[in-house]
C-alpha cells in the first residue's frame, strides 16, 4: 500500500508534525524511520531565532502547551543538514516561516534548488511568535502563499491555525497557490504559560473542524491534532485525510510511529482481506 501527496510517494500515511523532533539529528541517532512516510523537521526561518524565554512547556490534562518561539539557527545552518536528509529512506519536506514576504521569497528560492527536499510546509500559524501570525488574516494568507508560489516549483502545503470558520482561511491559501494543506497548528491556550495546546485534549475539536472542511476542499490534506493511536489515524483517514501528522505523541512514546504503523498495517490487511 502506498500513499500519495501531490506526487510525493509515501510508504505510510504517518508524517512527523514539525517541531517535537527538532531537525532530526538527535532523533535519528536513536530511532529509525520505521513507520514513517514523511519527515517534516522543525521550522526554519531566514535569520536565526533564539526562541522564547523559559519556561516553554506546561502540561495540561490530556495535553501540552508549548511556547518554543521558533528557535532555530537560520537557513544557512539548516543547509548543513543535507547529509542527514539524504541518508534517510523517507522523503523530507521543509517547514518554513518568515516575518516578511522578502524572507519567505528568499527561503523559497534557496529551498527550490535542493533536490533532497520534496516540498515546503509553510508555517503561517505558529501561535508563539508575536507579530508574525499571518494565519489570522485571509488576505495575508493569500499574499504569503502567492509569494512562495512565485519562487517555488515543488508542492507547497500551507499549515493553518484552527479557526471557527476554517474555509475563510483555507480559500486564500488555495487561491495563493497551495498544493495541499496541513490542518491544523496547535490551539492558542494559557495555563501558567501562554502557547499552543496539543495532545488528545484538542482532538475532538480538530476532528470537527476537519470534517467541516474536507468536502469543500479538493487538495490533499495532512491532518494534525492529538493523534496518539492507530484508531486516531484511522478516524482522520476515514474523514478524508491524505496523511496524518504525529507530534506530541512522540513525547509519550518516541517510537510511536512504529507502534501505530504496526497496528495500522494489521488493521488495513484485515480490511483488504474482508473486501476480497
Amino acid at each position: 500500500m502506498s500513499w500519495n501527496l501531490c506526487g510525493i510517494e509515501l510508504r505510510t500515511p504517518l508524517v512527523t508534525a514539525s517541531g517535537p523532533l527538532g531537525w532530526g539529528e538527535e532523533f535519528f541517532e536513536i530511532f529509525s524511520t520505521r513507520g514513517l512516510g514523511l519527515f517534516i523537521p522543525k521550522t526554519v526561518t531566514y535569520n536565526p531565532k533564539i526562541g522564547n524565554p523559559p519556561p516553554r512547556i506546561e502540561e495540561t490534562i490530556g495535553g501540552v502547551i508549548n511556547s518554543i518561539g521558533l528557535e532555530n539557527e537560520g537557513i544557512y545552518k539548516w543547509l548543513k543538514l543535507e547529509p542527514l536528509y539524504r541518508s534517510l529512506d523517507i522523503p523530507v519536506m521543509a517547514s518554513i516561516a518568515g516575518s516578511t514576504l522578502d524572507e519567505i521569497s528568499k527561503l523559497g528560492e534557496i529551498i527550490n534548488k535542493l533536490d533532497y527536499i520534496v516540498g515546503i510546509e509553510l508555517n503561517l500559524s505558529c501561535p508563539n511568535v508575536k507579530g508574525e501570525n499571518w494565519s489570522n488574516n485571509p488576505s495575508s494568507i493569500f499574499e504569503v502563499t502567492y509569494t512562495l508560489r512565485k519562487v517555488y516549483n515543488k508542492p507547497i502545503f500551507v499549515k493553518l491555525a484552527p479557526k471557527d470558520t476554517p474555509m475563510l482561511y483555507i480559500k486564500p491559501a488555495i487561491d495563493g497557490g497551495a498544493d495541499g494543506l496541513t490542518l491544523f497548528n496547535t490551539f492558542p491556550a494559557y495555563k501558567t504559560i501562554s502557547g499552543g495546546l496539543s495532545g488528545p485534549a484538542i482532538r475532538p475539536i480538530y476532528m470537527r473542524l476537519f470534517r467541516e472542511v474536507k468536502d469543500k476542499v479538493d487538495v490533499p490534506i495532512m491532518a494534525s491534532g492529538g493523534v496518539f493511536s492507530a484508531s486516531d489515524v484511522l478516524e482522520y483517514l476515514n474523514l478524508g485525510a491524505n496523511a496524518v501528522q504525529i507530534g506530541t505523541a512522540f513525547f509519550k512514546d518516541p517510537d510511536i510511529a512504529e507502534r501505530i504503523y504496526e497496528e495500522l498495517e494489521s488493521f488495513l490487511e484485515v480490511k483488504n482481506r474482508d473486501r476480497k
Partner: protein, 238 residues
Amino acid sequence: MPKIYNGEIVENRPIGGLFLLTVSIGEMVSVEPGQFFLIRIDREDIILRRAFSIFDADRDKLSFLYRVVGKGTRWLSEREVGYKLNIFGPLGNSFSLDSERSLLVGGGSGMAPLYYLGKSLKGDIKFLLGAQTGSFWDRELLLRYAEIGDLEIVTEDGSLGKRGLVTQYIDNSYKKIYACGPIEMLKSIRVDIPVEGSLETTIACGFGACRGCVIETRGGEYRRVCKDGPVFNLKEIF
C-alpha cells in the same frame, strides 16, 4: 545510546519521605552518574514522561529515589512489583569524575543522584544532606550513604543533625562540589571552588530535539537541560 526498555518493577516502596523504585530491564546497561531516565505514566490524561536521575545501577537493575509531588509520581508510587514500566534512557550528560576530594550536597530528593555519584568517585567524599525535618530520611537510606562516604545532615527544624540549611554548612576545603536540590539551594551555593549541579525542569522529548526544557545561562544563552545537562557548571548558570 538511549533505548526504550520494558522494565519490570522488582521493588517500589516508601522509604522515609521518599520512594525507592528498582526496575529490572533484562539486560546490562551502562549508566553514568547524573544521567536520567524518562518513565512513561500509563494514563491517557498524562502526556509527558517523568524524569528521574539514576540513584543506583547494578547490572540489569536500575534504581530511582523519588518524591511524590503530583499525579504522575502518585501513579508511579502505586505501581506494584511485577508491573511493566516503559522506561527510556539513559539520557543527558553526567557528572565529571575528576575530583579527589568532593563535597556532595543534596537538598530533599536531590540526594538521589549523589549516591551513584559517590560510588563512582575516587578519593574522599562527604555527603551533606538537607531536609525540612528528620522524618524525611529513613535510617536504612542514611546508612547506605554513610557506607560510602562521610555523612553530615542538616534539618530546617533541627529535629535531626544540624539546624538550618545545607548551604550554611558548605566549606571551601574541598576540590569540588557536586549539588542537586531545589533551585534556591543551588543559587545560594557561593564558593570559589568548582560546582557541578544537576538541574530539574519539565522535560518533553528528553533527547535534545524539541527545545522545550531550555534554561538561560548567565551569558544569556539557552541550554537544553535534557541534552546539554542536566549537569551544568553552576557558575555558568547562576
